[in-house]
Symmetry: C2
Subunit: 361 residues, 2 copies
């Protein structure tokens, strides 16, 4: 197993957020890379169940009772029985950066057979600029051995701050239920050695399995919506967050990168169960994409919060007629921002402590 870097990057500035319903044995494999960091575990489902975390990790764990206690009536914006609950972890973090990973994701190997330190690559992605305004054909120009190619305007070579780093998956690809059903045996074996910026004006399907972002730049847009228990839809939590985030990063001239790092995605979820969760989304996304492609934010929307509230308003106005669910979602978006601002007051204001039920050390 590869050794972690001697001084882990951003050790005190990054939280790892993990939504789970089971013991976190998967962390054993990540120990060399994750142990220096603080974990925020969001326990989904039955709060009386005890989740075991391997020895030696520094963590805090929140279950549904904690969510309800900390947010009060605003807890309604946090999904239950769906990994969308992870966004609660983004909200209670006090760090600048978040990395979130699913508990069925393991350490992948690069083509030379070396273990991939996914977190280190995400941090590199976040700490170097993005290039959303013009495409560079040699991909990330800030990477060693690469640069901007001929014809790339010099005025654009400083790039834009990177808000999001979207990592990929070897083995089980992130397919929807119909594709899973049609191609049950398809595996992703292709290691594409590239990081690239999703251009401005282009939407993409953001997967929450292996994702890092800058909380200060974009945190309040990373709301994973209303999914799971009591909702007519599942498995669109990260998609929703991705579309909202992309519209807002475009508006604020921030960048989103995709590509490296890979993790090893071990288990395909059940396609029949997934179809039940997804079928409304499969219809609705045909209306959602044109909506997000054409939505515009005003000049007054100068913060992520302001952008997000404008977006919520337009969701209600334009998507409410697609299904009543979107009225509820638009309200939850507003609640989310209220809760975010309550837990993350402007610097200098008095801060409350959100003590979790379980804490290591």
């Amino acid at each position: 197993m590869a050794a972690a870097p001697s001084t882990p990057l951003l050790k005190d500035e990054l939280d790892i957020v993990i939504p789970t319903i089971r013991n976190l044995d998967f962390l054993e494999m990540w120990r060399p890379f994750f142990q220096p960091y603080h974990l925020i575990i969001v326990q989904d489902g039955d709060p009386t169940k005890v989740i075991k975390v391997p020895e030696g990790f520094d963590y805090e764990l929140y279950n549904r009772n904690d969510v309800n206690r900390i947010l009060g009536p605003k807890a309604s914006c946090i999904s239950f029985k769906d990994s969308a609950c992870r966004c609660f972890g983004y909200m209670v973090s006090k760090k600048k950066y978040i990395y979130t990973i699913d508990d069925d994701c393991f350490v992948a190997k690069d083509p030379s057979g070396k273990d991939i330190n996914a977190l280190e690559q995400h941090i590199k992605n976040l700490l170097s600029p993005s290039t959303p305004f013009f495409f560079n054909t040699l991909y990330d120009p800030y990477r060693e051995g690469a640069d901007f190619v001929r014809g790339y305007p010099f005025s654009l070579r400083e790039g834009a701050p990177t808000a999001v780093s979207h990592g990929l998956w070897l083995n089980i690809p992130d397919y929807d239920a119909p594709t899973q059903l049609v191609k049950p045996l398809e595996r992703n074996n292709r290691y594409v050695d590239a990081v690239l910026t999703i251009p401005k004006g282009t939407l993409f399907p953001m997967c929450g399995m292996n994702l890092a972002f800058d909380r200060e730049l974009i945190g309040p847009a990373m709301y994973f919506g209303l999914m799971g228990d009591g909702q007519p839809i599942g498995r669109y939590d990260d998609m929703w967050a991705g579309w909202c985030t992309k519209v807002i990063t475009d508006h604020l001239s921030l960048g989103i990168k995709t590509g490296l790092p890979y993790i090893w995605h071990s288990k395909a979820s059940n396609p029949f169960v997934n179809l039940k969760k997804e079928y409304n989304g499969i219809f609705w996304q045909e209306e959602l994409i044109p909506f997000f492609q054409s939505v515009t934010l005003s000049k007054e929307a100068t913060t992520v919060q302001k952008c997000y509230l404008e977006l919520a308003k337009q969701v209600k106005a334009k998507l409410g007629k697609v299904d009543g669910y979107f009225n509820k979602l638009a309200d939850a978006m507003v609640t989310w921002i209220e809760a975010w601002d309550e837990l993350n007051p402007p610097k200098g204001a008095i801060t409350t402590t959100n003590s979790p039920a379980v804490k290591s050390k």
Copy 2:
């Protein structure tokens, strides 16, 4: 050396266009892949010089005297002493597809050590659809072992016809003179195993070194401009063609792919000479990019020719004030379309033959 496929793809539907000033010894290395195809060689510079083509290739060769004879006064739109002259070859071709390659480009090897059949990969790129309307995080969804990921709207999965396949370069990267000067030793050793679509609304720097396109879909936009002898600019021929082409493919809902295949680019051109050719372009591109980013074509522009003539008009109106050169270029764009239509009359019309000076067989 790898064997060529037993039945070469599109054998009678594709011409290989090569601009050159020297003997074409580089074709020896390409023999297994190129020999089944017809070559159009555009000889630049002194027309009395004899260019040697290795035995066994099927080719026609045009020198400046041929260009002048065939186009008459319209020959003014074809550059001299610049590889931009290659676009004459696109015009005289009668085939549906074009592949163009520089004579300092050799066969590259993939990571397994196998020779890359660049032409075969370009053809695969051109014969499968593009995805300009939404980004797929696993890159080309039509490639074996890949598909559209979760959250990709089903209505967009048919994609768009592919007009252009832009291939890349191992060894010497395609850098501008300032970058060449700063990083004289940088080599591109990274083999990125991906093909992707440049999203709609995003411009990119199109390099003419290793490029394929569908003449019927986009040919008349592939004008490489006025460069070289008597012009205040060089090395922007392919960039100009790329920006015009991208705007027009976006308008016509066609796709452009970039990525595989790689060729081995052997020689870095002289950065001092390049700087002299490029310096006006380096200034001007700062105005050109915003122009191309904001240009719109009318609903009446339903063919590539109509789009291109509208673009020429706007070049004159908006870029003429940047430099008088753009007035000349706008006129040349119109001349180019007139010459294209003369040599490529609508199907059913009487066709003239453009006999080259030199022809094999």
